[in-house]
C-alpha cells in the first residue's frame, strides 16, 4: 500500500507535492499512482533507443512536468538530465539514465 510515509522514506519530496495538493493525502497518493502508471516511461525508452530525439524530448519533457508536480524526486533526476540533453538533441547513450529511471520507478511501484 502506497503511503505518504513510504514515499517520504523512499526519498520523494512529499511535502512540496502535498502542498500542491492542498495537503490532501488521498488526492496526492492518487496522483502518485497515476504518475507511476503513466506509459510515457516506456515510450521515452522506445523513442530514445530508436534515436528519435524529437519524440524522446516530448516524452521526457512531459514526464518532467508530471514528476515535478508530484515531487517524485528520485525518478525526476534522471528524467531531468535526459530532458536537457534531448532538448539539445544530443544523440548519445541514454541507457544508463533510462535504467536509473526504470530502477527508481520499480522501487516506487514496489511500495
Amino acid at each position: 500500500m502506497l503511503t505518504v510515509e513510504a514515499l517520504k522514506a523512499a526519498g520523494a519530496e512529499v511535502d512540496s507535492g502535498l502542498s500542491r495538493c492542498m495537503n490532501n493525502e488521498t488526492f496526492y497518493i492518487r496522483l502518485v499512482n497515476m504518475a507511476l502508471e503513466d506509459d510515457s516511461y516506456g515510450a521515452l525508452r522506445e523513442a530514445v533507443e530508436a534515436h528519435d530525439l524529437e519524440k524522446g524530448f516530448e516524452y521526457a519533457h512531459a514526464l518532467k512536468g508530471m514528476l515535478s508536480n508530484v515531487a517524485l524526486t528520485n525518478i525526476l533526476e534522471p528524467v531531468l538530465e535526459m530532458t536537457e540533453a534531448l532538448r539539445a538533441r544530443e544523440d548519445r547513450d541514454y541507457s544508463e539514465l533510462l535504467d536509473k529511471m526504470d530502477e527508481e520507478l520499480e522501487k516506487l511501484r514496489a511500495l
Partner: protein, 964 residues
C-alpha cells in the same frame, strides 16, 4: 718556227717543203691559207684533218672545200673574220686569236681556238699561218668553273648582307661583291669602298657604321695586321660588333675567309651579316642557362642544408611517380642509395606499412597520396605530417615534410609537379611538445574546474547567505516596528538593518556577477508598467537623495509609454545601480537627475534613452575605460569611504548589453558624471491607466496648500502659479480641513491637497486623517516635507497620504510630482482583484497527473474547470462554447496532436468577439526565455512554470480576469 713568223719569212716551193715536213710531224693542227678570197688553203697538216674528223686530205678537201671559210661554222664566220682582220690591223700587229665553232665530218660541232699570224709571201701574196686546236673539252671545263664560281658567289651573297673581297692583303686592293641594296648599309659601304685601299675603307666603315663602344675594337679587329695574324693559324674567323640603327642597336658579324689568290697572293673574303636575332636568342639562351645554373647551385646548397636537418631527402616527380634520393640516411642500409630512381607512391606505401605506427598509417597514406600532395601544396608552401614510427622495435616520432619544387621547364599552371621531401626524427621535440600540451590541457582543465567550482560555490553560497539575510532583515523590520524598543536599541536595530541591506546588496551583486560570468543570466520578456518602475526608482533614489541632502529630479522627455515588454527587474536594477552610484559619489548639496524618453519608434518597438546625471566627484578620463571592469575603483581609498564591491558598474553594463542596449559615460573630475543608457523595448498593446497626461491640465486644477508658515504658502502659490495652477492656502490643519469640507459640499472639490508635515496643533498626518474622514479618499493628498519621511511612511499611508514631495517646491518638477501622484492614485484605485468564485476555466493539459493537480487547485477557489487533453480539443471546446462562457484558458505548451502555441494562435485568430480578449495563461515545465517570447507572440498573456504554485496561479487569474 720563230723564223717562220718573221715578217721576212719567204714562203717558196722550197720552204714550203720544210713546212710540210715540220707540219707533218706536229701534234697540233697547223694550216696556212691565203688572205685573198676565197681564202684557199695552202697547207693543212694531218692534225687538222683529225680535228675535222677526216681520215685524209681528200676527205678534208671534200668537207671544207679546202678554204678557211669552209672550215668555220657558218654562223661564226662573219664575226670571226671581222675580228681577225681587226686584230691583225690592231696594236698587237699581225697576230690574232679567235675561238669559234667548226662542224666535223661526222656533223659534230666542236670549239677550236685559233692563233694566227698574217704575213705576205712572194708566191702566195698575203697568207695566214694558223695553229688550231680543239678546245671543246677545255671550254666545258671552263664553263663549269664559271658556273661553280657563280654559284659560290650567289650562295655567299644569300648568306651575307654584304660580301667584300680583299684581292691582295699586301696591296690592299679590294672590291665589293655584293650588298643588300635596301639596307642603309649599302650606301655607307659603297662610300667606304670608294677608297683606294682597304685600310681607308675599313677606317671609314668603322667610323660610320659601328656603334661607338665597339669602334676601337673593330678598328683593330678588321685591320690588316689582325687579319694576317688570324690567317697564320686558321682559314676563317669572325668578328662581331653592334650597329646603332635608328630602330635600335643591332648585332652584326663579319666572317673572314682566307682566299688563295693566283700568284701566291693571299686575299680575304669578308661576309657582313646581320645576326641580331640569333645573338639575341643566344643571349637569352645564355641567360637562361645562367639562371638554371644558379638555381641548380641553390638547389644543391638547399639539399645540403636540408640534409643536415633531415634524415633523408628525396626529390619526387609526382606526375611521373618517380623519386630519387638526394641524401640517404647513413644509418639505414635498407634505403635506396643516393641517385637511384624508384617509383614514389609504391615505395612510400611500403615504407608506411613497414615503419609507421598503426594509428598513423591511415593519415600517412592519405598524406603521401599524389593528389593530396598536389592539392595541399597548391595552398601551402610546405606540408608536414608527424607520426609515430617504429623501427627495429624502437618507437620514435618522425616528421615528413614536402615542399613544391619548381623547375624551369614546368608549365605555368600553378600545379605542383615535383616536390622535395624530407624525413626528420623529431622524437625529442615531439615528446617535449606532447608533455607540454598535456600539461596545458591539464592546467586548462584544472582552471576550468576551478572556475566552475568557483561559480558553483559563489552561486550556492550566495543563495545560502541570502536565506539567513532575509531572516535578519525581516526580523530587523519586525523589531523596528515594535514601538516599545528603547531609543538606543532602535538605533542599533537601524544600523543592523542598514548593514544587512548593504550586505544583501553585495551578495546580490556577487550572485549576479557569477550568473553573468557563467552565462546563466537570462533576460525576461514580459509586459511591465514603466510608470511603476519610475515610481519605484524615484521613491528609492529620492529617499536616498533626501537623506544625503541632494536634490533629485526625474523628468520624462517627450513620450514614455506606460507599458512595455522587457525585463522589468533588470531595467530597475540598471537604473538603481547607476543612480545609486550617483548618490554615493555626489557630495551633500549636489544634484542627481534622471531624464528618460523615447528617441525612436519602429516595428512595434521603442528606443528609450535614459540620461543619468550628477554633480558628483566625477572620474578622470583615464579611469573611464576601466569603469566597467569588475572590482575596478578609481581610487582604492574610495572603497572604504564610499563602500562598494566594484561590481555595480560591470553588472549594469552586462545587463544593458544583454538587453541589446548601449551604455555610455561622460565624466569630468570634480564636475560630475553622466551615464546615457539606450534600450530598445517591445511596445505593449496595453493602454495606460486612466490618468493620461492630457487629463492633467494645470489651468483646470485647483490645489489647496496647508502650511503654518505663511511664507511657505506664499511660495507654493507663486511656484504653482508659474505653471498655471490656481492655489488656495490654509495656515493651519484645522483651517485646511474646514476649507476641504466646504469645497466638497459645493461639489467643487480640490483636485490636490498639499499638506505640510510639521505643524503646531495638528500635524500633516492628523490633518490628512481628518480630510479623509470628511470627504473620502478621492482627492490625492501629498505631504510636503524637508525631512526624511521614511519613518512615517507607513503611518502616513494609513492616514491616507498618497505621496511625499520634498520642500521647497520647484516649478520644473512640480507637474511631474503631481502627475506621479495622480498616477499612483489611479493605479491604486484601479488595482482590484476579480472574484474567482464560479469562474469557468478551460484547461488544456495532456498529462493526467498535471491536469488533476490544476483542477484540484482551481476547485479550491470554487472555479469550474473543463479539461481538454490536447490543444486541438481545447480549440474545439472553445469554439463550441457560448460567447464569454470561459473566463480564462490555462494552456500547457507541449501536447500531442496540437501544442499550446498553435492552439493559442488559432483561438486568437478565431472570429469571435471574445477570441482576442480571453486571458490565456501558458503552463510549462520550462520557463526558458525563448519559450516565453514565443508564447507572448502567440498571444498568450502570462507564463507560469510548473510545478504551478497555487498562489501564483490565483494571482495571475485574478489580475487577468479583472482586466477583461
Amino acid at each position: 718556227m720563230s723564223a717562220m713568223v718573221k715578217e721576212s719569212f719567204e714562203l717558196t716551193e722550197e720552204t714550203f717543203w720544210v713546212i710540210r715536213e715540220i707540219g707533218g710531224h706536229m701534234p697540233g693542227g697547223f694550216f696556212i691559207y691565203k688572205a685573198e678570197e676565197p681564202e684557199e688553203l695552202v697547207y693543212a697538216n694531218k692534225a687538222v684533218f683529225e680535228i675535222y674528223g677526216c681520215a685524209d686530205e681528200d676527205e678534208f678537201r671534200e668537207l671544207t672545200g679546202y678554204t678557211f671559210r669552209g672550215m668555220v661554222h657558218p654562223e661564226d664566220y662573219d664575226s670571226i673574220s671581222e675580228s681577225i682582220t681587226h686584230q691583225v690591223n690592231g696594236v698587237f700587229g699581225k697576230m690574232d686569236h679567235a675561238e669559234y665553232r667548226i662542224i666535223r665530218k661526222d656533223g659534230a660541232v666542236r670549239w677550236v681556238d685559233d692563233y694566227g699570224h698574217y704575213t705576205r709571201a712572194e708566191a702566195y701574196g698575203g697568207i695566214y699561218v694558223v695553229f688550231i686546236s680543239d678546245i671543246t673539252e677545255k671550254l666545258r671545263e671552263r664553263e663549269e668553273d664559271t658556273a661553280v664560281r657563280d654559284a659560290v658567289i650567289a650562295t655567299l651573297t644569300n648568306a651575307y648582307n654584304t660580301v667584300w673581297l680583299i684581292n691582295d692583303l699586301v696591296t690592299e686592293k679590294c672590291s665589293l661583291y655584293h650588298t643588300d641594296m635596301d639596307d642603309a648599309h649599302a650606301e655607307a659601304i659603297r662610300n667606304a669602298l670608294s677608297h683606294a685601299c682597304y685600310t681607308d675603307t675599313k677606317t671609314q666603315y668603322v667610323a660610320t657604321m659601328v656603334a661607338e663602344k665597339d669602334q676601337g675594337r673593330m678598328q683593330e679587329q678588321i685591320g690588316l695586321p689582325y687579319i694576317l695574324e688570324q690567317f697564320e693559324t686558321k682559314d676563317q674567323f669572325s668578328v662581331s660588333f653592334v650597329r646603332d640603327l635608328e630602330t635600335g642597336p643591332r648585332h652584326y658579324r663579319i666572317d673572314f675567309g682566307k682566299v688563295y689568290m693566283p700568284g701566291g697572293r693571299i686575299g680575304a673574303m669578308m661576309g657582313f651579316k646581320d645576326v641580331d636575332d640569333e645573338v639575341r636568342k643566344e643571349l637569352a639562351v645564355q641567360e637562361q642557362l645562367h639562371e638554371q645554373e644558379l638555381r641548380q647551385k641553390e638547389l644543391n646548397s638547399m639539399i645540403t642544408a636540408m640534409a643536415s636537418d633531415y634524415r633523408s631527402v628525396y626529390h619526387v616527380d609526382i606526375d611521373a611517380d618517380d623519386a630519387v634520393c638526394y641524401r640517404a640516411d647513413p644509418d639505414d642500409p635498407r634505403q635506396t642509395p643516393e641517385g637511384i630512381h624508384f617509383p614514389y607512391h609504391a615505395r612510400f606505401l611500403e615504407y608506411c606499412d613497414l615503419y609507421v605506427d598503426d594509428e598513423f598509417k591511415e593519415g600517412f597514406r592519405s598524406f603521401i597520396d599524389p593528389d593530396n600532395v598536389r592539392d595541399a601544396l597548391a595552398d601551402e608552401n610546405i606540408i608536414v605530417y608527424r607520426y609515430l614510427a617504429r623501427r627495429d622495435g624502437v618507437e620514435y616520432y618522425e616528421m615528413l615534410r614536402m615542399a613544391g619544387v619548381r623547375h624551369p621547364s614546368d608549365r605555368d599552371d600553378h600545379i605542383v609537379h615535383a616536390v622535395g621531401m624530407g624525413f626528420t626524427v623529431i622524437d625529442a621535440e615531439m615528446r617535449e611538445a606532447l608533455a607540454k600540451s598535456h600539461a596545458v590541457v591539464e592546467a586548462l582543465k584544472a582552471a576550468e574546474d576551478a572556475n566552475r567550482a568557483k561559480t558553483a560555490f559563489l552561486s550556492s553560497m550566495s543563495h545560502e547567505i541570502r536565506t539567513p539575510m532575509n531572516a535578519i532583515i525581516g526580523l530587523g523590520n519586525i523589531a523596528l516596528s515594535d514601538e516599545t524598543v528603547s531609543g538606543s536599541t532602535r538605533e542599533y536595530l537601524e544600523k543592523i538593518d542598514s548593514s544587512a541591506h548593504h550586505l544583501l546588496g553585495i551578495i546580490n551583486d556577487i550572485l549576479d556577477m557569477s550568473r553573468i560570468e557563467s552565462g546563466r543570466m537570462v533576460i525576461r520578456s514580459e509586459e511591465f508598467s514603466f510608470a511603476k518602475i519610475l515610481e519605484q526608482v524615484n521613491t528609492i533614489i529620492g529617499g536616498q537623495c533626501r537623506d544625503k541632502s541632494l536634490s533629485y529630479e526625474c523628468h520624462t522627455d517627450g513620450i514614455v509609454k506606460d507599458f512595455y515588454v522587457g525585463d522589468e527587474m533588470k531595467i530597475r536594477q540598471m537604473m538603481i545601480n547607476i543612480l545609486g552610484n550617483s548618490v554615493k559619489f555626489t557630495p551633500e548639496g549636489g544634484k542627481v537627475a534622471l531624464n528618460v524618453g523615447e528617441v525612436a519608434n519602429y516595428d512595434g518597438k521603442s528606443t528609450l534613452r535614459f540620461v543619468f546625471s550628477d554633480t558628483g566627484i566625477g572620474m578622470s578620463e583615464d579611469f573611464l575605460p576601466r569603469l566597467f571592469d569588475p572590482f575596478a575603483q578609481e581610487d582604492s581609498s574610495s572603497t572604504s569611504k564610499y563602500g562598494s564591491t566594484g561590481l555595480g558598474m560591470p553588472i549594469t553594463k552586462s545587463i544593458v548589453e544583454m538587453m541589446n542596449g548601449d551604455i555610455e559615460v561622460k565624466s569630468e573630475k570634480g564636475k560630475g558624471t553622466t551615464f546615457i543608457v539606450t534600450l530598445t523595448l517591445v511596445d505593449s498593446n496595453r493602454k495606460g491607466e486612466a490618468v493620461e497626461d492630457g487629463m492633467l491640465k494645470p489651468h483646470e486644477l485647483c490645489v489647496l496648500v496647508i502650511d503654518d508658515d505663511p511664507i511657505a504658502c506664499k511660495h507654493a502659490q507663486v511656484v504653482l502659479g508659474k505653471v498655471g495652477i490656481s492655489c488656495e492656502a490654509a495656515e493651519s490643519g484645522s483651517e485646511g480641513v474646514k476649507m476641504v469640507k466646504l469645497r466638497h459640499a459645493r461639489m467643487a472639490p480640490y483636485d490636490l491637497i498639499l499638506v505640510d508635515w510639521k505643524m503646531p496643533e495638528m500635524d500633516g498626518l492628523e490633518t490628512t486623517r481628518q480630510i479623509r474622514a470628511a470627504v473620502g479618499d478621492e482627492t490625492p493628498v501629498i505631504i510636503l516635507t524637508s525631512y526624511n519621511w521614511e519613518d512615517i511612511a507607513d503611518e502616513a499611508k494609513k492616514a491616507g497620504v498618497d505621496t511625499f514631495v520634498s520642500k521647497p517646491l520647484f516649478a520644473g518638477s512640480v507637474m511631474d510630482e503631481f502627475r506621479e501622484a495622480f498616477k499612483r492614485k489611479n493605479v491604486e484605485l484601479e488595482r482590484g482583484t476579480a472574484d474567482l468564485k464560479g469562474r469557468r476555466i478551460l484547461l488544456a493539459e495532456d498529462v493526467p497527473v498535471n491536469a488533476e493537480i490544476i483542477m484540484m487547485v482551481l476547485a479550491m477557489r470554487e472555479m469550474e474547470v473543463d479539461h481538454a487533453e490536447d490543444g486541438k480539443v481545447a480549440v474545439d471546446m472553445f469554439m463550441a462554447s457560448e460567447l464569454g462562457y470561459y473566463d480564462a484558458i490555462l494552456m500547457d505548451m507541449r501536447m500531442p496532436v496540437m501544442g499550446g502555441l498553435e492552439a493559442s494562435r488559432i483561438i486568437r485568430a478565431a472570429e469571435r468577439s471574445d477570441a482576442t480578449k480571453i486571458p490565456i495563461i501558458a503552463l510549462t515545465a520550462n520557463a526558458f526565455d525563448e519559450d516565453v517570447q514565443r508564447s507572448m507572440q502567440a498571444g498568450l498573456n502570462a507564463h507560469l512554470s510548473k510545478p504551478v504554485e497555487p498562489e501564483a496561479l490565483f494571482e495571475t487569474l485574478e489580475r487577468l480576469i479583472d482586466e477583461v
